[in-house]
Amino acid sequence: MKQFLRFIFLILLFTTGITVISKADSGNENRVDLIGKVVDHNYLDFKPLATIELPRLIYDDGSFYFYRSTTSLLNTSENFTDAAYVDFEPTVEEGRIVPATYNIVRTDGQPPAFDFSITSHLVFFWIAAIVMFLIFIPLSTRYRLGTGRISEPRGAFQNLFETLVVFIRDDIALQNIGPARYQQFTPYLLTVFFFILFMNFFGLMPWGVSSTADITVTAVLALLTFSATQIFASKDYWKHVFWFPGVPVPIKFILMPVELIGLFTKPFALCIRLFANMASGKILIFSLLGTIFIFSDLFGSGVAYGTSWIWVLLTLFVYLIKALVSFIQAYVFTILSALFIGLSVSDHSEEHAH
């Protein structure tokens, strides 16, 4: 009974949410920018409560410019303007110029030399970093004080994170890198895992954004794994890349470009896999909910209301899958990073299994 009531409550919650969205959009052209929901923004979207504009930091012509928000930039700056306002008159609401695209360009229409403004993905990346700090610094203090070091771990908090830490150390780092050097890379793998996990989970929260659905963020992570494989690579690794041992000489020449391409496809695949998985989940949820509005357009609002529960249930299902995928993708990224690092640092000289 209790579960049934909870279920009804969830359906009601979703239905009201959809009603609010449909009301909010009914004034416009019933148009929702689907990709816009996934990409990075210069504001935090807490619709329908508020939209918080984020600071803008721009470097151009040898000087730094700092603005509290995009609106303040548009109203005070003489050097920069919105890309939409270069050729057209700016939109003014209540005596202030409001941003149109948030895409800041110089007044001559050229992009600034370097725009390192704070964005929504960055904010959630930082939140993930702070959450990690708030979790793991107290955890390490516990260990330093003796709980878990000289006694068993106590409490759900410590047990949960110890399980994950031990899992990453033993089943990911030790398994893939080997007993000789795994300790060197365990901190990196732990950081990557929990960073990705928390960023993925933020995408599941109301108004939350998963920063891993941004190819820039995943590219940085993949780049770091790539750097680790290149910096700590063994002599044997380079030999395998440029002069593959144990095969005839003509094959060696064929394998060289293949291996060279392989160097870069590995981190590229890492980057794309994580990004695509996280972005697609979000797009899928919006698409499923969007089906209600498509039905409303095609068959009238009565049919749309009548069938909406199907799409809401499907969305719920996809949401649960997304929760699972959040975990799996963090795990996959970490285990593949460990695997690539393991391949590059291991010394095959003692085993000729090729």
Binding site: G36, A100, S117, H121, L139, Y143, R144, Y188, T216, L224
Partner: protein, 167 residues
């Protein structure tokens, strides 16, 4: 109407790239130093302690087993030794007794022999004395009979010869 310029999904934003890289490296450093290192060290230490205590327990167990085995062995040895000692003692006592008996036998034999020989001696002596006495008595008697017809010396000779013939 606000124009919607959807940002490309695959655009790499270098501002974000810069921030994410800096933040990640900073947090990687901070977390490694202040979180992962103490946690991993503590875990390693704990695992080491557990491993060592398990090994110590195993060692103590095997030692105890060894000791109990040793004890049993020592007990068995002591038992067999005591058995041996008892047997030996019994044997020795037996030999000693046999020895004593033998000795006593020999001793008594010796005494007996001595007594016999001394009796023999006495007997011989007595016989000699008796003969002498007899011969003296015979001579005396004969002298009385013959009435001193014969002189002492010649009679003596006759008697001696007679006695010799007797022997």
């Amino acid at each position: 109407m606000n124009p919607v310029y959807a940002q490309g999904l695959l655009d790499v934003d270098f501002g974000l790239f810069f921030w994410v890289l800096i933040t990640f490296l900073l947090f990687l450093f901070l977390l490694s130093k202040f979180a992962w290192k103490p946690i991993l060290n503590a875990l390693g230490e704990r695992e080491k302690v557990i491993k060592e205590s398990l090994e110590a327990a195993e060692k103590a167990k095997s030692e105890a087993e060894q000791i109990s085995r040793d004890n049993e062995k020592a007990l068995k040895e002591a038992e067999s030794i005591s058995q041996k000692i008892r047997k030996e003692a019994l044997k020795e006592a037996e030999t000693l007794r046999a020895d004593r008996i033998e000795k006593a036998k020999v001793e008594s034999e010796k005494f007996l022999n001595q007594a016999r020989s001394s009796i023999e001696q006495e007997k011989k002596q007595a016989l000699i004395e008796l003969r002498e006495e007899v011969s003296r008595l015979a001579i005396g008697a004969a002298a009385r009979i013959l009435d001193e017809e014969l002189d002492e010396k010649r009679n003596r000779k006759i008697v001696d010869r007679y006695i010799k013939e007797l022997n």
